[in-house]
């Protein structure tokens, strides 16, 4: 073993010597060439003094290839004259020109070798075509210079270096595989660029390529900047995140996502339903369903009426009832009822798809990146400041964000290190859940009771104001008092705030479901009542029309003018009523939210801020204090609002438009409110940037809101005189109608076949099986993942404890501790003497030198990690004079596996 190591060592030494030997003349050559070429190239931009200076230098330094650079210079200079120097300013030109002429006189005698001369003009040509471009690119002359000449010189250098590498490859102390790959790379590089340097066509092409590559890089960078700028509200959210932590920011990110979804829904509904109806449908006032009835006409334009979405708004394209049941409209023969139905379905389809997709991508993202939680604090401590910040405002934000991130990790840390009495915690948690379930059951029963009572009240006459509004009052009281109660009870549980927030969300969600239940129940009662009345109204309408046309007392010879649409008696059109209900709810919800923010947050903040000067106790620190941002309430408000939108959008196509406006304003309003009048949470905690829990709740709400809509579509008959489906037995009949009339018959047969239960049930079964299978696969994978992570963690712990034990031992006798890491303890013991690191004083000296051979030693020593992989991809630059071979042997030992367990000495 030791033989092997020694052999290796010797080989390396020899190799190094060889390299040094072979390298030195070449290096000199390279340097010379580099300087000459660079000078030659530089000479173009600043030909005067510099050229002279350089030529002097060359003479003094004894450049290896005298003559040629000068020749180049002359050539270029001449070329400069040929160009006429259009790009340069006139003043410069005259002065330079004079200088040049002088120099040319002195240089002209030296021009020789016609063969070389030939090359020069070609280069000149290149220069000529490059120069204007570069000068246009960079306004300053120095910028222009660096563009072309820098590049060329660098390429030349690189090619030379690669050539050298190829030549010295044999003696490099690398493993064979690396040598091979390096060799291949170097050869490719030389092949690619060598032609570009000297010879005419390749060079021009190369110059062009370089220019384009540069531009492309710049373009990509600009485009990336542009992309980040295009993300709406990104800066606002970052601002909030830096002050309030990621948990508050997660709400705003959710809000932004919601806004995006609503924009798509808005586009769908407006583009395919409302705009075609407005453009091609029958105009207002043409048929009864599009006209305000005679009785309402007087008040139809009053603001109080419009505010309730009655009057003219009720008879507009915003609501279901306005649409006609004509199969096709306009010259496009647009099938509006069909489109209406399909849009209603696809609103749900799209929402489901997008929610599930984003949930899936979130999970993938969270498992995909293995977050390293090993050095969180070190990372935050050493790398959190962004040294490119030059703006004081940005710096303030950065301060805030560093502070919050520290706070977040302190909380996380405290949670993970919490010493707790497990039995007590369990008991408290069970108790808390019991209490909360009691609360929920109680409020559920209360709601049920109140709803029952209200149904009785609705049958009675002359009920008081309280009895009429009992349900609403009870609901809002519950909504006001239950969440704080839950929060108080949740204190018992002593959860991590992130988990706590989830529980809180879940509990309030359950409470809000009761709200939803009462609302839907009341609505359904209303709908059924209207449906019951429909038959009688239908008869009345028939009779009215019949009487109108057949009544006597009218001159028979003149045909009667048709009855004015406003006079025709109508049904109550339950669909529009439902739509109006949702519309009102959304708007009032929005207003309540805004007023709450204004009163509860802003006014409170103003009061606390300004009354603090003249108050008997400290308002800011004491009782009222500033409000914290209520994450759970806001998130749930957003989710339930979205549920309303999903439920209502089928009966009120304009609802999504209102919602888009609402989200837009609340984005700005809440951003402002949060920054102006809220304080960060006491325990700032870290939330994942895309919260799947919110998405899960949203999915649940989506599903719940799908149910009533599906029920009404599938099992209630549409109104007879309003809406696109009037006259049909069920709304989905429009589908059948289209298939029968517009598709070939065999398609209809296929659809009928597909709808066969015999086919659907097996398909559903298959789906269940697939879900079960995929679920179990993913479970096992995630289990394996967790296990691996645990293993890594354990490995690290073991290693650390080893080291600290050993470190303490050595610290006692030498006052210093070696950091050599090793694969196992035995090796650690064996290599102890060899790896005795530089003492403290030594390392201090090295710090001053900033780059000594010893420091590189220790680097390679650290670079030998316990996990057994080589983190450095390149050999350490070991000074030849150092004579510190241990580091090299060290490296090779690890490179050659565990072959060397004994020190080479």
């Amino acid at each position: 073993m030791s033989h092997q190591v020694k052999g290796l060592k010797e080989e390396a030494r020899g190799g190094m010597k060889g390299r040094a030997r072979s390298g030195s003349p070449r290096t000199g050559d390279r340097l010379g060439r580099r300087s000459s070429s660079k000078q030659a190239l530089k000479a173009e931009g600043t030909p005067g003094r510099r050229g002279a200076q350089r030529s002097q230098k060359e003479r003094a330094g004894g450049s290896p290839s005298p003559g040629s650079p000068r020749r180049k210079q002359t050539g270029r200079r001449r070329h400069g004259e040929e160009l006429g120097e259009q790009e340069r300013s006139k003043a410069e030109r005259t002065c330079q020109g004079r200088r040049k002429r002088d120099e040319r006189a002195s240089f002209k005698e030296q021009t020789a070798a016609p063969k070389k001369e030939k090359e020069i003009p070609r280069k000149e040509k290149l220069k000529r075509q490059k120069k204007p471009r570069s000068s246009s690119l960079a306004s300053s002359a120095s910028g222009g210079e660096s563009l072309s000449e820098e590049e060329l010189a660098r390429i030349l250098e690189q090619v030379e270096e690669k050539k050298k590498l190829i030549a010295t490859m044999r003696s490099k102390p690398w493993p064979m595989a690396k040598k091979l790959t390096e060799l291949r790379e170097a050869q490719e590089f030389v092949e690619k660029y060598e032609g570009a340097l000297g010879k005419g066509k390749g060079k021009r092409l190369y110059a062009y390529q370089m220019l384009m590559a540069k531009k492309w890089v710049k373009f990509k960078r600009d485009f990336d900047n542009f992309k980040t700028q295009c993300i709406p509200w990104e800066m606002k959210i970052k601002d909030i995140e830096s002050h309030f932590g990621s948990s508050v920011a997660s709400y705003f990110i959710f809000l932004r996502w919601m806004y995006g979804v609503n924009l798509v829904l808005f586009g769908l509904i407006f583009g395919l339903v409302i705009i075609p109806e407005v453009l091609m449908g029958m105009p207002y006032g043409s048929i009864p369903r599009k006209t305000v009835p005679r009785a309402e006409e007087e008040k139809a334009m009053d603001f109080s009426v419009l505010w309730d979405f009655e009057g003219y708004i009720k008879y507009s394209a915003l609501f279901y009832g306005y649409y006609n049941n004509q199969r096709t409209i306009g010259w496009l023969r647009y099938r509006l009822p069909m489109a209406y139905f399909m849009v209603g379905v696809s609103v749900f389809g799209y929402s489901l798809m997008i929610v599930i997709r984003s949930m899936a991508s979130n999970t993938q993202g969270s498992t995909g990146e293995g977050e390293s939680d090993n050095f969180t604090f070190s990372f935050k401590m050493f790398t959190s400041w962004d040294y490119l910040i030059g703006n004081s405002e940005t710096a303030d934000n950065k301060y805030a964000s560093i502070t919050t991130s520290f706070k977040e990790s302190i909380v996380d840390e405290q949670e993970s290190n919490k010493e707790e009495n497990i039995h007590l915690t369990r008991f408290l948690r069970v108790l808390a859940n019991f209490l909360i379930i009691c609360c929920l059951c109680g409020s559920g029963y209360l709601i049920y009771f109140v709803v029952k009572r209200s149904q009785q009240f609705s049958k009675m006459q002359n009920v008081s104001w309280y009895e009429r509004n009992e349900v609403e009052i009870v609901m809002s009281l519950l909504g006001m008092f239950c969440p704080p109660l839950f929060e108080t009870i949740a204190l018992l549980e002593n959860y991590h705030p992130r988990t706590g927030l989830k529980w809180q969300l879940g509990r309030i969600f359950a409470l809000f479901l009761g709200n939803l239940y009462t609302f839907l129940l009341a609505l359904m009662d209303d709908v059924h009542l209207k449906l019951a009345n429909e038959e009688t109204i239908k008869n009345i309408t028939h009779w009215t029309l019949f009487n109108y046309y057949n009544s006597s007392g009218w001159n028979e010879s003149v045909p009667r003018p048709p009855l004015h649409p406003a006079d025709v008696p109508r049904g109550s059109c339950w669909e529009t009523a439902v739509g109006i209900e949702f519309m009102r709810l959304t708007v009032s919800d929005m207003l309540v939210t805004y007023i709450t923010i204004l009163l509860g947050d802003f006014l409170r903040a103003c009061f606390v801020r300004f009354m603090n000067y003249c108050w008997c106790w400290d308002l800011e620190a004491g009782f009222p204090s500033y409000a914290e941002f209520d994450i759970s309430g806001n998130v749930l408000g957003l989710i339930f609002n979205q549920g309303m939108i999903w439920m209502g959008s089928f009966y009120a196509p304009g609802l999504v438009g209102i919602n888009v406006l609402r989200l837009l304003t609340s984005m700005y309003f809440q951003c402002w409110a949060v920054m102006s009048s809220n304080v960060p949470h006491e325990r700032v905690f870290k939330a994942s940037r895309s919260n799947n829990f919110y998405m899960g709740l949203l999915l649940l709400v989506l599903f719940l809101s799908l149910l009533p809509v599906a029920y009404t579509i599938m099992s209630l008959p549409p109104s007879f005189d309003c809406g696109p489906f009037s006259g049909k037995n069920r709304m989905y009949d429009v589908l059948q109608e289209t298939i029968e009339n517009d598709f070939p018959t065999f398609l209809g047969k296929i659809f009928a076949f597909l709808a066969n239960p015999g086919l659907i049930i097996p398909a559903i079964l298959l789906m269940f099986l697939a879900i079960y299978y995929l679920n179990s696969v993913s479970k096992s994978l995630s289990q394996a993942n967790a296990q691996l992570r645990k293993k890594i963690q354990a490995l690290r712990e073991v290693e650390k404890s080893h080291k600290s034990v050993k470190g303490k031992a050595t610290a006692r006798d030498s006052g210093y501790t070696p950091k050599s890491s090793s694969k196992n303890a035995t090796q650690l013991q064996l290599t102890k003497e060899e790896t005795t690191p530089p003492s403290a004083s030594q390392s201090q000296a090295m710090d001053k030198k900033a780059q000594g051979p010893g420091t590189s030693n220790s680097a390679s020593r650290t670079a030998l990690p316990a996990s057994g992989h080589l983190p450095i991809s390149r050999p350490p630059g070991v000074g030849p004079d150092s004579g510190h071979t241990p580091s090299q042997t060290h490296l090779w030992r690890s490179a050659s596996g565990k072959s060397a367990q004994r020190p080479p000495h």
């Binding site: 002359a141 120095s142 604090f377 050493f382 490119l388 080291k803 303490k808 950091k819 780059q851």
Partner: protein, 195 residues
């Protein structure tokens, strides 16, 4: 142009270039910058000159950075010294790492030296270790008054606990390197324009 006139006065530009690996153009640019910072045409920079830079003024570690330009407590830094410090931020190029000349010392822009530069910013007394005390000072600079002293100490303790491997209660350079192993230092500590 300024670059031309300034070129004439760069003293032994070649040796600086050899040491730092800067290209001619960026050396010119740096010299230009150097002269712009040097307000009294002294030929060297003092601490005052560097404190004028706005970006450093807002940086909590700005003073440390300025200090890093003045090794051994000297009061002035000349152009070669200026360039030498900035050479730490030269982007690492592929050919630098592949065809390293074994005779030359490690280039200033190597990963190690970059890290060492960062390490120096935290190592106030230059004893080769970042002690808990030094960490607390940096923390105070970075988070200000919003976090209580107790929490700050908590953080410092945790950091030491994480990074310290030999149990001496301080972070040595080796441990520092290790804790930032996953950091893309080559890229993060590079300034694109300094080629």
């Amino acid at each position: 142009m300024g670059s031309r006139s300034s070129h004439a006065v760069i003293p032994d530009a070649d040796s600086i270039r050899r040491e730092t690996g800067f290209s001619q153009a960026s050396l010119l640019r740096l010299h230009h910058r150097f002269r712009a910072l040097d307000r009294n045409k002294k030929g060297y920079l003092s601490r005052m000159d560097l404190q004028q830079i706005g970006a450093l003024a807002v940086n909590p570690l700005g003073d440390r950075i300025i200090e890093s330009f003045f090794p051994d407590g000297s009061q002035q830094v000349d152009f070669p010294g200026f360039v030498r410090v900035l050479a730490h931020f030269r982007p690492v190029e592929d050919e630098d790492t592949e065809t390293q000349d074994p005779k030359k010392p490690e280039p200033l822009n190597s990963r190690r030296n970059k890290l060492h530069y960062a390490f120096q910013l935290y190592d106030l007394d230059r004893d080769g270790k970042i002690s808990r005390h030094e960490m607390l000072q940096v923390l105070r600079l970075m988070v200000g008054v919003e976090v209580t002293e107790e929490q700050l100490e908590n953080i410092a303790d945790r950091t030491v606990q994480e990074a310290d491997e030999d149990g001496d209660g301080a972070v040595s350079f080796v441990e520092f390197t290790k804790s930032l192993e996953k950091m893309d230092v080559e890229q993060k500590m590079s300034i694109r324009i300094l080629k």
